[in-house]
Each structure stands twice: as structure tokens, then as C-alpha cells.
Symmetry: D2
């Protein structure tokens, strides 16, 4: 049997797992065409994130702005389900990888999806502007559609807890500074602020940009597609998840429940009843 013929099935298998991300042979690892040893020590961690997701290296400024967005959303405390889950899981006798997995697993549409929704919303407006609409016109038209057909939280605006989310104005300020230096266009910052202003007119009060809206601005400025913003948020929040898991694991609690140990929960169901059709419940 010749080598060429032997390879046939193997080739099919290897094609089944094809990728444009990583190339390997013994002693060689290349990411997106770069030798790994050329990247190590030259590309910053955010630059590696960018390269892996986008295929090309970012400029140093682009990598910095990405790192700023990643660093801004690492934690929002143990009242967030993801962080609470991390802390409880850390007391159950599983590895720190599994603690982290249980926690990031809940960063779904409701807990982790707001940035993705915000960036999609901005993107709709950007498309309208590209098609000739004015900024205010495009924003107004999109909000009209929103308030007719969609639900009543405008993506990226408002916060249950913070009257002003302290992360958002700082992120916008930095985006503007990067735009002033030509790193990004500032277009998504314009869109977000126009949305904020239009909603304020409609509601009669300002509902300020939140962290999801602000990071969506940055990810949009940097050219990331909406679904990746969820992935980037997972990377970011993983840091807080790890920190809380670690802090918890340094304590001696076992099977930490949500409430103090001597508390229970309120039972609201059917009162006690015998098993049906049994005269002698104790058997």
C-alpha cells in the first residue's frame, strides 16, 4: 500500500478538523502565520486576543483600547449570578476550571448579552447612516421601531443599581481620546450618545449609558462583530470569576448555600399529605 493511498482517510479526518488559526508540526507552533516564539514578548496579551479572533495583529493603540474594554467589566460583585455561582462552586470540591465553567456558563442572553444587543442596535443605525440617513434621523427611526415592536429596555442604556454607571463615562472619554488621535473613528460613540439624547427627549429624563453600551461602543469602533462582544465579555468577567473563586477557596466553607447556614427557604407548596391509596403510610 503506498503512502499516498494510506493518507486518503487520514486526509479526510484532518480536513474535518481544519482551521485557519493554528498550524503545528513537531517543534513548530504558528498562530495566524506567526511563529509563537516571535509573538511571545512582542505582542501584548490583548494583541494576542485580537490576532486570534481577527487574523491580523492590531496596532499598539488598538490593542490598548481592547485591553481597556476587557479590564473594565471584570466584576460587578457577588449579587451577580455568575459571581455567586463561582463562590458557591468553589466550596463543592471541583477544580478551579470547573468553578469557572459553571460561572461563565450563565453569561447568557440576559446576564451577558446586553453588549451584543447594544452593538447590533448601533450597527443598524450605522447601516442607515451609510445608506444616507443623518445620525439623528437614523437614531430616531431605529428608536421608533424599538418602542413599537421591541421590549422596553433600550440596549446599552440604564442600570438597575447605578444612577450613573461609573464605567461608562470614563470609557466614552477614552474612546473620544483615541478617536482624537485617529485610532478609531468615533462613530459608535456618536451613535451611542445620540441614542442617549434621543431617549432623554422621549422619556423626559436621561437614562445614561451603561457598561454594556460603553464597551459595545469600543468593540464597535474596533470592528468586532456583535456576537464576539459576548465572547469578549466572557473573557473579561472570567477575571472576576477567578478572583472570587480564589478568595472563596481560601476559606473553609463547604457546600456554601445562598443564605446563612441556619436559614432555610420559604415553602409555598401543597401542605403535607399522605401517599395516595395507602392506609398505612409507614408501611
Amino acid at each position: 500500500m503506498s503512502g499516498a493511498e494510506k493518507k486518503s482517510g487520514r486526509e479526510l479526518g484532518e480536513e474535518w478538523w481544519q482551521t485557519a488559526i493554528i498550524e503545528m508540526s513537531p517543534g513548530i507552533i504558528r498562530l495566524r502565520g506567526y511563529e509563537i516564539q516571535d509573538l511571545i514578548g512582542r505582542a501584548s496579551f490583548p494583541a494576542v486576543v485580537w490576532l486570534m479572533l481577527r487574523g491580523e495583529l492590531p496596532s499598539e493603540d488598538q490593542a490598548s483600547l481592547l485591553g481597556i474594554a476587557l479590564g473594565a467589566a471584570v466584576d460587578h460583585g457577588p449579587q451577580a449570578p455568575s459571581i455567586a455561582i463561582a463562590r458557591m462552586a468553589a466550596t463543592c470540591g471541583v477544580g478551579i476550571n470547573s468553578v469557572m465553567a459553571s460561572a461563565i456558563n450563565v453569561l447568557g442572553d440576559v446576564h451577558g448579552g446586553a453588549g451584543e444587543q447594544a452593538l447590533s442596535f448601533y450597527g443598524d443605525i450605522a447601516v442607515a447612516i451609510d445608506g444616507g440617513a443623518t445620525l439623528d434621523g437614523a437614531v430616531s427611526a431605529r428608536l421608533d421601531r424599538f418602542f413599537v415592536g421591541e421590549k422596553d429596555y433600550v440596549p446599552g442604556l440604564g442600570h438597575r443599581f447605578h444612577p450613573i454607571d461609573p464605567r461608562a463615562p470614563r470609557l466614552l472619554e477614552l474612546t473620544r481620546a483615541f478617536a482624537a488621535r485617529g485610532v478609531v473613528s468615533g462613530r459608535f460613540a456618536d451613535i451611542a450618545e445620540a441614542i442617549e439624547a434621543d431617549v432623554a427627549r422621549r422619556k423626559g429624563r436621561k437614562i445614561p449609558l451603561n457598561i454594556d453600551g460603553a464597551t459595545a461602543v469600543i468593540y464597535g469602533e474596533l470592528g468586532f462583530p456583535p456576537p464576539l462582544t459576548r465572547g469578549l465579555f466572557v473573557l473579561s468577567r472570567s477575571v472576576g470569576i477567578l478572583a472570587h473563586a480564589w478568595e472563596q477557596s481560601q476559606q473553609s466553607e463547604r457546600n456554601k448555600g445562598p443564605l446563612p447556614r441556619e436559614w432555610l427557604w420559604a415553602y409555598t407548596g401543597t401542605p403535607p399529605r399522605p401517599f395516595p391509596g395507602e392506609d398505612d403510610a409507614g408501611e
Copy 2:
């Protein structure tokens, strides 16, 4: 400080975690109002599943039919992502609970959601019939809508691999037998078979009911809402996941990849290139 006042914060906490499923005090566990020791040995495992999800005990026949559906979908082999993941995870040094978690986690809309979609589809038709439509009319109208606006796999019909899914006719046969004895109405079996017949007329060839369509018939007959069919499928497939995880863990493989160890993957990306702006790649 009086007892009543002390309780106030605790009560709020305990209400935050209220549930109608389980009641506990020291020495006492009640599920849906039944003492746990009265259930143990009297209610079969499927009956306990039913009680927990529905709040009331099923009849013995209802529990049997539920058990039949649960037993039918336990495994479809390691080409299914869930099973492959279980086997790979079992070689990575995590507990069997985490192996199972990684695997059931992927039983999403595409891998695990077909039963839910099928039962929703049947439910739309059932509602139309309740509103006065004939079986064939309701089926035809729903399929008209489907072929205009939705995607081209009719939920519950057809299988990539099996010309006839051997589980489906047997499950229908048993549903009919239970209907003949008055355990269920047979209504969802009628709907599923009418869909199959109508699609055959439209396509000119029979696209037979699959396991998802057939278990959806049973879950519908038994009165489970569509989203629970996904949960029941997870319970069912967990058995196969556990069996494969266990079989794999009895072998000595470490970090089992998807392809034989000496194979790689095809690289399709950018050819090798130097790190930009560096004359001396070794620094």
C-alpha cells in the same frame, strides 16, 4: 430585640428562595407535600420525575409511558457531539459530574431542541383544532405557514442517518396502545401522523417521524409543556453520557483528541510570516 423583629430580614431572605417543590425541617423532607419516606419504594423513578416537575403523582400507566420516552433516547453513539465530549472530557482529569456537565451543556437548540420544536408545532395544530379546525385542515395550514416562512426541516421528521428511525414507529405503536387503554387521548399521535402524511403528499416521498417527533408525541400526550421536553431529553441522554464517560474512564487514555493521536488537522490559514517591524526575529 423581639423574635418577630429579628425574623424580618431572615424572612426576606427565605422568601427570596421560596419554592413549592420541597419543604424541609430537621428530620423531615417533603416533596410536593409527600413525606420522602412515603415516596421511597412506592413511587417509581419516572413517577418521582413527574411529581417533581408537575406537582402531582402520575398514575402508574402515565409513569410507565414517561419512562418509555426517557429510556428511548439515551444514546445515539459517539458521533453525536454530546457523547464525543463526554468521552474526551473523561480523559482530562475532571470528576464524572463535570464530564456529564460538559456534555449535557451542548444539548442546545440544534442538538437537543428538536423535541421542543416538534411539540410546539404539534401544539399550534392542537390549538387550531380546539378552535374548530379539522385535523387535516389544521395540519395543512400550519405546514403552509412553515414552508413559507420557516426553515426547511419540519420539526420531528426525517433523519440524516436512518431512512427510518427504528425508535419512532415503536414509540408510536406504544402510544397507540396506551391510548387504546384510555391512558392518553392519542391526539398528538394523530397530529404527528397527519403531519407525516401531509408532508409526504407535498414532497412526493415519505419523510418519516424521528425520535424527537415521537418522544414529543408522548410528552404532549402526557401534558408536558414544550420547554420541559428539552429537560426530559437531557435526563434521558445523561444516561448515555454517563455510560460512555464510564467506559472511557476505564481505559488509560489521557487528553483524548478527536482524531487518532498521530494525526493532526489541516491548516488553511495565512502562510508563515515574520513578526512585523522586526529585523531580528530572535530579538
Copy 3:
């Protein structure tokens, strides 16, 4: 290129994923050698679990006893991390499969491993008896070793909350009844009760068998190896996890935290401080 030669790579790939559990070809699914349509409606759900894990069908009595153990441990309320996680995850916008995955993932050594530890402990004693020791002698010797070198919870004994775990005596009673009918030997029940008695003598007070100790008795009587008891516990607790996830999903909460929404958490860390080396913190 001949067919035989073409198959070579494919064969390697197919052997890489070999299994003794399931055989498939178009239209055919066999589990452990049985046609799936022969199993459906004949083997109960616990019997299918047994077949998948052990390779052979159990007797009807064996399947019943397995079902009893599976049904006994389905829930212990939302103060258990697994159940709390299920309820929180259900409010975060992920599928019910992912809700269940996050929850079972934490059934690790501490939260889910007690049954496995108890059965290993019983197994050590059974081996000593097989080697000629008396029941009491083997138990005493194993406990001597335990109290010298291991930690101070005897596996399978005692409960933080229940003075007597109401599930345990009922499970032992049923095990004895099955033993009286010759379904099992009663040997692990003897061992567990001898441990309980010996520990009572040492401590001067009874520390009664708990659910983990009692289900370990049954799994041991039925011939399951210790690591599978964790897997069986996962199957069992998955029922409660699903029930709580479902109940929670019927409510409108979003991002349910562990404490009532208006509460926070106590902060115990470093007091507020300026970013180092900055004169103007606002930049």
C-alpha cells in the same frame, strides 16, 4: 485506489472512537446487543440505566431497587449549591440544558462525592471480610485507620441538618426487604449498620446513616463500583435540578442573585485609595 486501501485511514478513525455500548447502521440502533425497538416498552427506565452502565439487563427486582435509590436523592432544597445554581442560572437567559449543566457541574467531591467515599469505605471492609476477618473486626480495623489518619467525618454517617435523615432508615428497610427475597445479599447493609454501631460506641452517641451512606449500601448491594455512584447521584439530583430550574423559569426574575435585590454584600477589603502616582485621579 482500491476500496480496502481507502478504508485504512477511516478504519483508524473509527477505531479511535470504538465503543462496546452502541452499534448503529442505517435503520438500526442496538444498545449492548439489543435492538432499541426491543428494549423500548420492555425495559424500564432504571433497567435501561443498568444495561447501559453494566452491559447486561438487570432482573426486574434489581431494576426496582436501582430506581428506589435514584428516586430517593432527587432534591434537598435550594440551600444546596447545585439547586441554588440551577435557579439562578434559569434567570440568566440560557437554555435549560445549560442551566442543568451549570448545576450538576458542582456535584464534586464535597457536594456529590460522599456516596462514592462511603461505598469505597464499605468496600475496604468487604475485602477484609473476604480475606477472613469478622464483620465487627473488619469494621473496627477500618475505623481505627480512619480515626488515625483520615478526616473526622466517617463517610455516610451524620447530617448537618437532620438529626435523623428520613431517607436513610427507609432505604435500609427496603434493602433488608429485598435481601430477604434474595435479590441482594444484605452484606453492605450489615457493614453500614456495623459502622454505625461501632462509631456510636466510640463517640458515646449514635451518628446515624445519611442518604449518601444509605444509597451507597444499595449501589454496593447491586454491584456498582464506587465511582459510578457519583454518576448515579448526578442522574438522581438532575431531576431536582430540572424541577427547580423549571419552577424558576416560570417566574419573571432576571439575573437572580443570592440575596434579595435591595441587599448588597459586606465589603471587607482595603479602604478607598487613589490610583498610585497620579495627582489628578480624574485625569
Copy 4:
């Protein structure tokens, strides 16, 4: 009821979730005592990781070295179970957060734990040196113990695939450069190289440092405890997991199995057999 009395239960609940990581009140978020808006744009992403895990800000050089280690281990291709799982999960209809969770969940003792083991091994030697042993003496004594009582892979040495892991020498070179500038002591680099040399003498051939051994050197130099190196590896590999999940999700595959779609798996179990005690298998 007075405010003080009302707070009592709430205080208990808030203490139950206490943390030294994050402090919040409406409009204010502080991480480890720093206002979040002071950190954003000033602390790099690796610096935020450090702050969250350690409680204090690193120097710029320390943050750089941490970033180097994080960037080095992002991917090792789809033959690694974690990456394969990410790609398969991405075809199953779950969110990217759940895709990532399924994948990082398997970074257990075998797949993700080598760095932790290596750093523990180095730490044993460091302790011996602190107690007065020479470098070579401490290494030799630890290896003696290893080859007597432990398993035959020395933590941090050797690679199944790479004769020389291209990441390791580059990481050591950079560690040495940082040590030369006084950022770190170089002590763990010494230990790792002494282990490599001693093993080469024992085996008669060099078994070179791998990525786990090299990143463990860096994490040790920077003062991270061994269990955190697993968490840091999870953060790092999450980048590759996200990149592969994203690439896969851009394709149209559904339920991607481990082998090409037309392949199956080899069945090695019991041959076909009838259901026992049934004369008419078809019933």
C-alpha cells in the same frame, strides 16, 4: 421597628456574601479600594488580572511578564480536547458563553493541571533551599523522591508532540531578561533548569522544559501560588477556545461530530441478541 433591628437579618445575609474584592454603592464601584474609573485606562488588562487576584497593583514590568505568560498558552490546536469541544459545541445551538464553559470545564488535572503540578514541585525545592540546601542538592533530593514514589512524568518536562516546545526556551529567555533588570529573582528559572539538567543526567538524554514548566517558572517568579496557575491557564486558553468557537460558528455545520459525517465508530461489544424471555421480539 427601628432601623438597627431591621438590619439584623439583612446584615447576616450581607456578611454571608462578604468579599474583600469589590465594594459597591449606587454610582460607585471600587476594586480592591480603587475607583473603577481610576483603573480604566491606567491599569493594563494583565494589571487588572493581578490586582483582582492579589489585592495590589503590580509594577508595569510585573504586569508585562504576566501578560507574556498569559499570551503564550492560548492555543494548541483542535487535537486538544478543550479546543475540539469548543468547535463541536459551537455547532449545537448554544450561546458562545456555553461553548466556552463546556471547553474550559475539561481543563482538569490531566489537561490543565501540569503547570500547577510543576509550580508545586518547584516550590518544594525552593522551600528546601530556604532551609539551607544547595540548588543542586534540593533538586536531586526532590527528584529522588519523585522517581521512587510518584509517577514517571516529571512535572513541566517533556512533550508528546514537540521534541522541543518552542514556547519554553523563549519564555525562559524572557524570564532571564526580566531577572537581569531586577523585576524577578530568577530563582524559579534556576530551579527549572536544574531539574532539566538533573533529569538529563539520570535519563542520559535531555527532556526539555515544556509550556507548563515554563509558565510555572514565570508564575512562580511573580509570586502566584500553584492553584492560581490553573486559573491563569484557563484565562489564557479561553482565548483560543473563543477563537476556535468563533471560526467554527462562521461555518454552517450542525452537530459536528469528531469524525467525518459519513464515518461511524467501531462497535466492539456484544453481538446482536434478542430481548430475554420474549418469543416474539416484535411483540
